[in-house]
Symmetry: D2
Subunit: 352 residues, 4 copies
């Protein structure tokens, strides 16, 4: 049994992992850490867990929290928190998966650029770990993840765009400088903290774009795609919120290079993802929606190039809280411990 | 392994059972029967199941459908269909669980009254089976269900009201003739068939009561409560639809008898349901919502009598598609085959 | 033209009044007062108003705010604020309509009971005005409102329940001590302030009851119904929130007295409300929903007694932000200034 | 007073016009024609109109329907119906506004291409009228509309894209062959007819793209933009449905020509739309959402080019049922009869 310690158990990313671990045959939760509700049970702040998981929440500032031993520790916490926990967990010989941007980049320079975008301190608190961290996009880094001490799990938008664009970049199916990511997310992506824009009466029946001056996920998408393409890739990214709770639908566009048509793109996508348990590629004659991936760890990709205009078009659907967060973190854990990659992830969500 | 045959696999009640069976360690699906989509895979009409369940759908009119052998057959079908299948399955030695009203009553007289209410033929097609059928409210008929050949699973409203009122009726905590059930349901209770009132633009932001002249579930609630109380119980029932997909919240009222107060009611409820895996009783100082049971097989009961006015008040929350339908059907299967009662049902839903 | 001053212009109750005043042929807004956004335009905090109403918001703490002269001043503010403004406006000869509980009761004793329920200071700050204030339920206090200096507008739940029960109480169609109000509200009733329970991902698909120990609107309902009935009336009240933005659906129950049936109740309701522009009475064979009153100042009442069980049942539907708040406030203004009662209120909402 | 006859009064486009005409000081409805509900009142099929508009619905097949005389007749009907009514109304000297694609094109050739896309008979039934019809995008065809006998009102997506792209095309701010329209619509755009994909439980929390092989609105957008640009314009168009009732948010992309930056684009948009009552242009530092236009006839445009990547980006927000349908039809009527262009349209929607 893999012993799992979870820091940030009380947020959406934390409870999502708890839900999946409850059904995982080879993992057991050994400790839940969270500031809010510390001293009580996790089911006191999340009553839906009562009777299913009633473990105590440990105060992150306590020695007890640090002392909880594990085979792997997840930090389902906001940017910055993992920089405090990373050194502690790694020193204790625990493998470490972080949900935030803290360990997505291998250098202090890249981290500093990222941190500046989100108005955080550009100086990383655990720079000595950056050389060892692996970007947790399982489909592209499986072998490194298997051996990794530290995994920086991708952002939800980044997951949807990178998986959706990788074959195009790899096989040169889109012209340089033309890539556009038009991404619609559900509201849970913003976490559980109430805010005016996500107050029910303000959000129902309302869609909007935001952070048009630059969303922080752009950097990791460009970084990862540049690695895949072997040259600099730049994207235009339009994050949008629509009134649903879960789901990301990213419409990915670009210019088709001379001689590349829809058939070639479809073929390349199918080829690149053949054998991938969690990536499905469909032609645009087949229906697809975020509802088809709600509650599952799947990426559903529709290839829909417009040959009339010469425009490359691919649509990527994920559940932002599963493949976009807790599910892919668990997928990484499975890889790290040599388990079947879909263990605990082999079920669809509940419909409707 | 319990071999499961599922008739009506394509409705909400069918796919709900498939979802749960996929995670059940002691059951396997041996055949899916459904008219719509017959000849194709279940995942063709429900793409979210693709990769998780890709079994074929068999035409109910085919010999193949009848021939599928099983240990238990579920009819997740509208009223009437089970009257055709019941005799076939029982004759083949398969145990039988029906979701509709077809086998909820033990006599042709009661069935005839029920059928009249829903404008169906009052003559039961398989009257010889009525003597053997057991009402599938596990908590009250566990022993009979364990031995039953035929189980008539309760209606969703009936589940919420009967569990919510049983202790009051049993212990005389509410005055005769005063019981009111004010029940709010999500829309999935009406099934997957589109209709003007459930068209998204007509339903969002809209609540209404319906069938004020008499809902068909009244009959089974009164019948079951009369058995529990040892005398005739009558209720006033107000079904309402609110704009959510899953969930039933039933506010149950009556007159407190002289000398009965909130404390006595709370105590009686806790006592009656002690040890019940799927029934939780709370005092009204504790928060409760349909969100706390979404995706789980739980009944969450809040006792909230109003001593100032002498009014009995209990609020019952369920997920109409789980404890109100597929979950309780699976719970019955577990009991019928001597399995742990919460097998395949021991996980919370996904939140949010 | 009636000159209107609006304090609390930035909340839902304020902008609702602005919307209606923009279409009112005999009223003009002369000043908007609000702490949030003061110094800027109302359309800066509410961009949907841009181009329709771009008046400045005046700081309530400024002398300018006090100095704005008007024929009528509305306080669309939380409990307590009107106690500060009432004396100022009345002294300046301006008529005064308050949305909160500040002027709903005629005595310091009653106010003190009310304030205690909502954890406010039980000592009224302007006790000298209480003798002059009129309860703003237009249908029952039209003549006093016409002459009133101060109107205390009813709470939204109170509006729905009082109009829904008045004929029953007046004509003795329900037994003493048996009245139950099961009330479902949309979320806008809680105002624009974000909170965990109204965060979109927590609220969609979720219904719950709250304040089961006693909602503050109970007091004014009982007070008003006692006046109408000429004797003490007590009610049991169950406030609930369902995932919609606008609308209240109140199911009102009681015991039918011996000899009183559905027909008599229906007749009494039709009779009492004949000629009322904003009250519609329907029999339960006619469909009704909160959608039918969304955006309008109407109360839609369905009479649906259950003769089989002897239970009185009436369902009352309103838009909590119109007849439940800004609409009824405007209706009162029309009465106060001798205008046609439905001026500015003679249009349905937008559908869907 | 302009006498208005409305054919197709029972759909969303019909009732939307009724709502606005009820508040229009210079128009009066003289006849409502609709097959469903004919013989009864419009408020019988739409109870929210009861007491506000209780006019009878006339059977379109009756002589009475043809005989209703008017100054202007609106056909708020599906494609094809206007081809029957156009000749009748025009022959009777009534001016004619059609909501569908029937009169959006000036030649039988163009119409035939359009009809083929939507699987309709490519032969127009009233070809003699095509030469006289004017495309009803008021902002670009004001003078022709003022004199027009027949106006073909734009499609909702077309409205949002054409207004959003016109300045870019006119002033050459986007490179040829690079234009992409990523359009998210609310569900009311599909009308009132229930369908599986718009059944509430299937649609809540679900987003999807559709008609990826080619939406019919593409043609009129390309046609109109080509006129504006003076050369052939082609677009890639991705229609999507998100779970809201009203609203279209179109993200419009392209390649910025050498030397064109964000500032130039913003300036051109502001310049082109200066003085337009219903078009607002904002910089991307200002918040904008479909909520800001819900219920209003406004187009809210955000200019948000990405200079880092050289991508042109403009976001256009409308209410699909107002500026996208009934509102723009009424705006055209105002122009046709020399009324103030915003008459009956000078109010915001209701918020929230």
């Amino acid at each position: 049994m893999v012993r799992v310690k979870l820091i940030g158990a009380g947020g959406y990313g934390g409870i999502g992992l708890i839900e999946m671990l409850l059904g995982h045959p080879e993992a057991e939760i050994v400790g839940l850490v969270n500031p809010h509700g510390a001293g009580g049970k996790v089911s006191e702040i999340w009553p839906y867990l009562e009777g299913y998981c009633d473990m105590p929440l440990i105060d992150p500032e306590s020695d007890e929290a640090k002392g909880i031993d594990s085979d792997v520790t997840f930090c389902a916490t906001p940017d910055g928190v993992g920089q405090y926990w990373g050194p502690i967990e790694v020193a204790a010989g625990r493998r470490f998966v972080d949900y935030s941007g803290d360990y997505r980049f291998n250098s202090t320079e890249l981290y500093s650029q990222y941190a500046t975008r989100i108005n955080k301190d550009p100086v990383h608190k655990a720079p000595e770990l950056l050389g060892e961290c692996v970007y947790g996009l399982t489909e592209f880094h499986r072998e490194e993840i298997a051996k990794a001490k530290i995994v920086g799990n991708p952002g939800c938008f980044a997951m949807s765009c990178t998986i959706g664009l990788a074959p195009a970049i790899k096989y040169g199916l889109v012209e340089e400088g033309s890539v556009i990511c038009d991404c619609k997310t559900g509201i849970s992506g913003a976490g559980k903290k109430p805010s005016p824009g996500f107050h029910y009466p303000e959000r129902y029946d309302t869609a909007n774009a935001y952070r048009l001056t630059g969303h922080q996920h752009v950097m990791e998408i460009e970084h990862e795609l540049s690695l895949i393409g072997g040259k600099d890739v730049k994207i235009t990214f339009t994050p949008q919120v629509v009134p649903m709770t879960r789901g990301i639908m990213s419409c990915l566009y670009g210019k088709l290079p001379e001689g590349v048509g829809h058939g070639r793109v479809l073929e390349a996508y199918k080829e690149m993802y053949v054998g991938e348990r969690f990536v499905m590629v469909k032609d645009f004659t087949e229906a697809a929606s975020t509802g088809d991936v709600r509650g599952s760890n799947r990426v559903l990709i529709t290839v829909a190039c417009d040959e009339r205009t010469g425009i490359f078009r691919v649509i990527s659907h994920i559940d932002n809280l599963v493949k976009g967060q807790a599910g892919s973190a668990l997928q990484n854990m499975n890889v790290m411990f040599g388990l079947r990659e879909d263990m605990g992830l082999d079920r669809p969500g509940a419909h409707p």
